[in-house]
């Protein structure tokens, strides 16, 4: 609806005591794009979002929105809509009044349709006259989203908005966030520690570690071609399997695999990070492995196989799990998908 603006965070630094929450972070959001910042606790993702919102000051670096340097601008003059992790609706106002709050401050109180429109957009119009304590967690976050969007923000900031919700509502709401964001076209920064959430909603995913971006790319690239071992390890489950460097690739359990990034150093004995879905389990009475457990996860099952001292996790179609009962002898086959090596950073 409003096109979206470009956002550029340049060389952001922020320290809390001895901790470097942001260590020279550079991030560029294209107009209308949704970027998810993903990373473990303390990696600086929330600090980055708060610096962009103006709720936190950076020690150095600049924040440029739509070509204007807004680094010194206070939060209330930045025109950014924000949804918080904690429930943040004003308890003394109804859902509708909450949505109207920002409009009234902008003397757009007469724009009554806007509030109704936004409540409609987030699918909560029938609950408009309820107070926050009369709404469920998911409904409260919907209203918070409507409130943030009502002011036609230049940038939408989502600070782990789904983490307090239960699993089913979380999945449902993240789909809606994606739909709404695509519909309104507001440039959006979404902070989360849940990799599945980040991969599902984002146009691009930025994986952060120690105040810096480790990798920024399309969800499929981050998942399938992790730039570093940290990204491979953090985004999705990975097996650590011993391998030998040969030519441009690595040989793991007899299979030659290409590398995501060329190996550095002189070592030939390495540890490769292999995704469970790249490992196939085939029943074989002479096989070197033994099935330890098989957990049913709906369409897929996760099978843990013991090979010597090592445990290997594999993902197989649930239809095959009957032939992989615990104790079954098996052999492992690895699909030739590019892998990262542990120790690369």
């Amino acid at each position: 609806m409003n096109g979206g603006v470009a956002v550029h965070l340049q060389g952001l630094r922020r320290t809390f005591g001895t901790v470097h929450a942001l260590d020279g972070l550079d991030l560029e959001l294209h107009p209308g794009e949704l970027i998810a910042l993903l990373g473990p606790s303390g990696c600086g993702k929330t600090t980055a979002l708060r610096v962009l919102a103006g709720l936190e000051d950076a020690d150095s670096g600049t924040v440029v929105v739509d070509g204007k340097d807004i680094t010194g601008l206070p939060a209330n003059r930045r025109d950014m809509g924000m949804v918080f992790q904690a429930y943040s609706l004003f308890p003394h106002l109804t859902a509708r009044q909450n949505v109207e709050f920002g409009l009234r401050l902008r003397k757009r109180g007469a724009d009554k349709n806007r509030a109704a429109e936004m409540l409609e957009l987030v699918g909560i119009a029938s609950h408009a006259d309820r107070y926050p304590h009369q709404l469920s967690g998911g409904q409260q976050q919907r209203v918070a989203l409507a409130r943030a969007l009502a002011i036609r923000p230049t940038v939408l900031l989502l600070d782990e908005p789904l983490s307090a919700l239960d699993a089913k509502v979380r999945v449902q709401l993240r789909e809606e966030i994606k739909r709404i964001q695509t519909e309104v076209g507001t440039t959006t920064l979404f902070v989360t520690h849940d990799q599945e959430e980040a991969l599902a909603v984002a146009d691009r995913v930025g994986v952060m570690r120690s105040g810096r971006l480790e990798q920024l790319g399309a969800p499929a690239d981050v998942y399938l071609s992790p730039a570093t071992a940290f990204v491979a390890d953090f985004v999705g489950l990975s097996n650590r399997l011993p391998g030998v460097l040969k030519g441009d690739g690595v040989e793991v359990m007899g299979t030659a695999l290409p590398l995501v990034t060329p190996a550095s150093g002189d070592k030939t004995q390495v540890t490769a990070l292999v995704r469970p879905e790249s490992v196939d389990v085939v029943p074989d009475t002479d096989g070197p492995g033994k099935v330890l457990t098989a957990s049913f996860l709906g369409p897929f099952s996760r099978v843990i196989v013991q090979v010597g001292d090592a445990l290997v996790t594999a993902q197989v179609a649930s239809g095959r799990v009957t032939e992989l009962a615990p104790g079954t002898r098996v052999r492992l086959e690895i699909r030739p998908v590019a892998v990262a090596l542990e120790g690369t950073s």
Binding site: L55, A75, Y87, S88, P91, G102, A148
Partner: protein, 263 residues
């Protein structure tokens, strides 16, 4: 069976305690009522007839007016000082919270008579600068009510997520003043009312500082009146006591409503 008899015993014990306490509190009040309505006296009709009261007992009338003025001004000054401070400390200076709490609780640990020793020279200046009106006691009373008012307001702030609400309001375009007036204050309204009620109850019952600083208020007037008209002084004491009860009752009703709306 044993359980039933234990519960019965417990219930009997409860009633015995309640009855004894009831007698302990009610007996003096009943005695006061009896004393002020004895014979053919017109004490109560004078007390509720303001022109007659102010004509017959001008000192008492002045004491009542001063106390009401002091109570109102103290409540206003206390709220104006404490509410923004408490909110600001929560939002921007959380490291100072313990210090502010300590300072606010200090008056509780210092006896009023000791406070007066320190206040006397200060009030010499107050006299010099803004005159000797009894309403100037407002300054001393504001310090005196800090421990109670701070506790009430702090409890109110603890019940809401001030930081997140303030940040949400800021991101929607609120100035700091709007954050306080339109977001935080409406959500701690009952705590603010509690603090104000406590202030009024405390100020209406204050005697030591007013008397020792040679100012007048209700309690000082009652004390003086006791020497000339015992019946009227007892009647006024009783009225003041009932007013304090009513205030405390309102306080607990406000508290109840807060709990109900929170659930």
């Amino acid at each position: 069976m044993a359980r039933l008899s234990f519960r019965r015993k417990q219930s009997i014990f409860r009633w015995v305690v309640l009855t004894l306490l009831g007698i302990f509190f009610l007996l003096p009040i009943v005695a006061m009522v009896e004393f002020t309505t004895r014979g053919e006296q017109s004490t109560w009709s004078t007390l509720i007839n303001w022109p007659e009261l102010s004509a017959t007992y001008p000192d008492l009338a002045e004491g009542i007016l001063m106390s009401l003025g002091q109570a109102a001004l103290t409540a206003v000054l206390m709220l104006a000082l404490l509410v923004p401070t408490a909110i600001w400390v929560r939002l921007r200076l959380p490291g100072l919270r313990r210090l502010v709490e300590f300072i606010c609780l200090l008056p509780l640990t210092i006896p009023a008579i000791v406070l007066v020793v320190g206040l006397a020279p200060v009030y010499a200046w107050v006299n010099y600068l803004i005159g000797g009106s009894s309403l100037t006691l407002t300054f001393a009373y504001t310090i005196l009510v800090l421990p109670y008012a701070y506790r009430a307001i702090d409890a109110g702030l603890s019940a809401i997520d001030v930081k997140t609400l303030a940040e949400a309001a800021r991101s929607l375009g609120s100035s700091w003043f709007t954050v306080m007036a339109r977001v935080v204050l409406p959500n701690i309204r009952s705590a603010v009312l509690s603090a104000a009620f406590l202030t009024v109850a405390l100020v209406l019952g204050e005697f030591t500082i007013a008397s020792l600083l040679n100012r007048t208020n209700l309690q000082v007037a009652i004390n003086l009146l006791g020497k000339s008209s015992a019946t009227m002084s007892v009647a006024v004491s009783l009225a003041a006591l009932l007013l304090a009860f009513v205030l405390l009752l309102l306080l607990s009703l406000v508290g109840d409503r807060r709990k109900r709306s929170a659930s």
